[in-house]
């Protein structure tokens, strides 16, 4: 499903080249649940951005669902992001002036889906994340956990193949964090690839496959349940 081959990402910092990702090889299958961990500066976020096609690798290939994403044009990449990838951010990234419902339907609006269908689909999503009664609340009227659930609903309304979560619980208390993780895991059980980037070993340890990045290289790739 996802294959990274010899991926490099080099940043120019002053007159120095920084290798954020160094000859990375990674294969992820359909329905996998993996966490990416590592110290700050290890390249976690860069890897996530490349997986989410927000960033282009300096060299190497990225195959998503059999197509070489690196060869696509800007517009085709945008289209791929819209159809195949969902993002969940640490700071939720909800549009403050829009209600929960309007935030969730944003990808459908961008895709030009007619209003009646949008209404039905956002309704189902609100139900799924347990925010049926909060449809017309603005983000400022919602708790952190509720905001993140709105964000998850928005990330998955296009029924993407991959869900990328960047520190999804980083800004939440334990209880809300747990709820959010449960929702994400539930989505994974339904077949979505769930990739969680975190530096919280407790959250990272929940994943079936755990990848550790140090200085842009994978230092460990462990599958199966082990107690952290």
């Amino acid at each position: 499903m996802i294959t990274l081959e010899h991926v490099h990402r080099v940043f120019q910092v002053g007159d120095q080249e920084v290798h954020a990702l160094n000859d990375l090889m990674l294969h992820i299958d359909r329905g996998e649940y993996l966490s990416i961990m590592g110290p700050s500066g290890s390249g976690k976020s860069t890897l996530l951005n490349i997986l989410g096609i927000l960033d282009r690798s300096t060299s190497g290939r990225y195959l998503l669902d059999g197509t070489d994403v690196t060869a696509l044009s800007d517009d085709q990449q945008a289209l791929t992001r819209r159809e195949k990838i969902g993002f969940v951010f640490q700071f939720f990234h909800l549009v403050p002036r829009l209600t929960a419902e309007q935030n969730i339907e944003l990808p459908l609006v961008l895709a030009g889906v007619p209003p009646s269908e949008r209404k039905a689909r956002t309704g189902r999503m609100l139900q799924a994340v347990g925010l049926k009664g909060r449809a017309h609340h603005r983000p400022e009227e919602l708790s952190g956990g509720q905001r993140q659930r709105v964000a998850i609903a928005r990330a998955t309304i296009m029924e993407p193949a991959v869900l990328l979560a960047d520190e999804p619980t980083g800004n939440l208390d334990r209880t809300s964090g747990k709820e959010v993780i449960e929702i994400l895991e539930d989505l994974n059980r339904k077949g979505i690839i769930l990739i969680v980037v975190t530096h919280d070993p407790e959250i990272g340890g929940l994943a079936r496959r755990r990848i550790r990045l140090v200085d842009g290289c994978i230092t460990s790739d462990v599958s199966g349940h082990t107690e952290p």
């Binding site: 951005n49 989410g52 927000l54 960033d55 800007d74 517009d75 945008a78 289209l79 791929t80 992001r81 819209r82 159809e83 993002f87 951010f89 990234h93 549009v95 403050p96 002036r97 829009l98 309007q102 944003l106 990808p107 609006v109 961008l110 895709a111 030009g112 007619p114 928005r154 296009m158």
Partner: protein, 402 residues
């Protein structure tokens, strides 16, 4: 993305930042309002002059005694007058042409008009019956001068309504004998009050048959001759006819000046149009300023909403979509501002029209179209740069923007 959704998204974004929206609406509306207001007043001034001239009559050719061009230093430049008068007979000769519909010789002067013991100094105008139609005057009472031989000095007069009020007061004036200078004449008509035009107010006039007036003023010469051509196209023919007739009758001298109403009118029309355009152009500067303000405000908006733009990109918005969202926002804003300005401008010009009733203030359609067009165009052009900046933001950096 459906156009209606683009519009809805823009409207919500505008609602989200009321102060900014109000500020831009204000800037745009001031620009448009000043353009509309100044063109309305300018057009009003132009129409005022045009109306004044056309109330003198249409297809008019005016004959003035004497040549208009300076003929150098000679005896005539001391006298300032031509040795040959422009006479009633000249007019009768000029009238004999198929392209001439009407002629009216005019002789003017001042005289004491009196009735019983009331005396008043009035402007006196000697002419013939055809002046009534040429100048489009109407009669309030009685009749105008009788048609017939213009050389006949019938002792009758037509007076303006103001003269009637001042001399006769509440007494009926028609049929009364009044004195004009050292002559007596019978009042046969009173002029209506409309038909005011530059220089002469018919309300204050006493009108006599031209021969009678010449007798009164002791002269053979005419002050002006008004000649009405049958149509606009006939005017050049009438001009040449007048000049050749006068030359024949004045021993080969073309000692008259012929002016056409149209030429004078066209000149004024051009001057006023140029003035209006100048004033409009000055007002247009404020539209330009509004455009630059639009650009600044849009740039601030883009940097304020950087994180949102990053999000839209993450959600799969194409560059063109983001460009479109921001352009729509600017266009919605500038059109709303333009409409507001239009309302203010038209209301303002209506108010000015009420205050200065003589000025026919009207907003020409081209000014409305131009103001709206320019407003929307500047709104659009000046927001292209900010919108492009938004569209080309790097999503990773935009997302991490606080």
């Amino acid at each position: 993305m459906r156009p209606i959704d683009v519009l809805r998204f823009s409207l919500m974004a505008l609602q989200g930042n009321r102060v900014r929206t109000m500020l831009m609406l204000l800037a745009m509306s001031i620009g448009v309002a000043s353009v509309v207001l100044l063109t309305s007043v300018g057009e009003g001034a132009r129409l005022f002059v045009v109306n004044e001239f056309s109330s003198l009559g249409t297809n008019l050719v005016i004959i003035l005694p004497g040549r208009s061009e300076t003929a150098g230093f000679g005896p005539s430049s001391f006298m300032g007058e031509t040795p040959r008068d422009l006479t009633i007979r000249d007019v009768m000769a000029v009238a004999r042409h198929s392209a001439v519909r009407r002629t009216a010789p005019i002789s003017v002067g001042e005289a004491h008009a009196s009735w019983q013991r009331r005396v008043r100094e009035v402007p006196v105008l000697g002419t013939t019956s055809e002046l009534l139609s040429i100048r489009r005057w109407t009669m309030a009472q009685g009749q105008f001068l009788p048609a017939g031989d213009p050389e006949l000095a019938s002792p009758v007069c037509v007076i303006g309504s103001k003269v009637r009020d001042e001399l006769f007061g509440p007494h009926p004036a028609i049929g009364e004998m009044m004195s004009v200078g050292d002559r007596r004449c019978r009042v046969i008509g009173i002029l209506g009050s409309e038909g005011r035009s530059i220089g002469l107010d018919p309300e204050e006039l006493v009108i006599l048959p031209v021969a009678f007036a010449q007798m009164l003023f002791n002269t053979n010469s005419l002050f002006r001759v008004l000649v009405e051509a049958t149509s606009r196209e006939a005017i050049p023919r009438v001009e040449t006819h007048i000049l050749s007739t006068i030359r024949e009758r004045h021993q080969g001298e073309e000692d008259v000046t012929v002016m056409t109403q149209d030429a004078v009118l066209a000149t004024f029309d051009r001057i006023f149009r140029a003035l209006t355009l100048t004033v409009t152009g000055i007002a247009g500067i404020s539209l330009g300023v509004a455009g630059i303000l639009t650009m600044n405000v849009m740039l601030i908006t883009v940097s304020q909403r950087t994180a949102e733009i990053g999000l839209l990109k993450a959600l799969g918005a194409r560059r063109s979509q983001i460009l479109m969202l921001f352009l729509t926002e600017a266009v919605v804003l500038s059109s709303a501002g333009a409409l507001l300005g239009l309302v203010i401008g038209i209301t303002g010009s209506q108010i000015i029209g009420r205050i200065y009733t003589a000025l026919p203030v009207g907003t020409p359609w081209w000014a409305i179209a131009m103001a709206l067009g320019v407003a929307i165009f500047t709104g659009l052009t000046f927001s292209v740069l900010p919108a492009r900046r938004a569209a080309h933001l790097d999503p990773v950096q935009a997302l991490s923007h606080k």
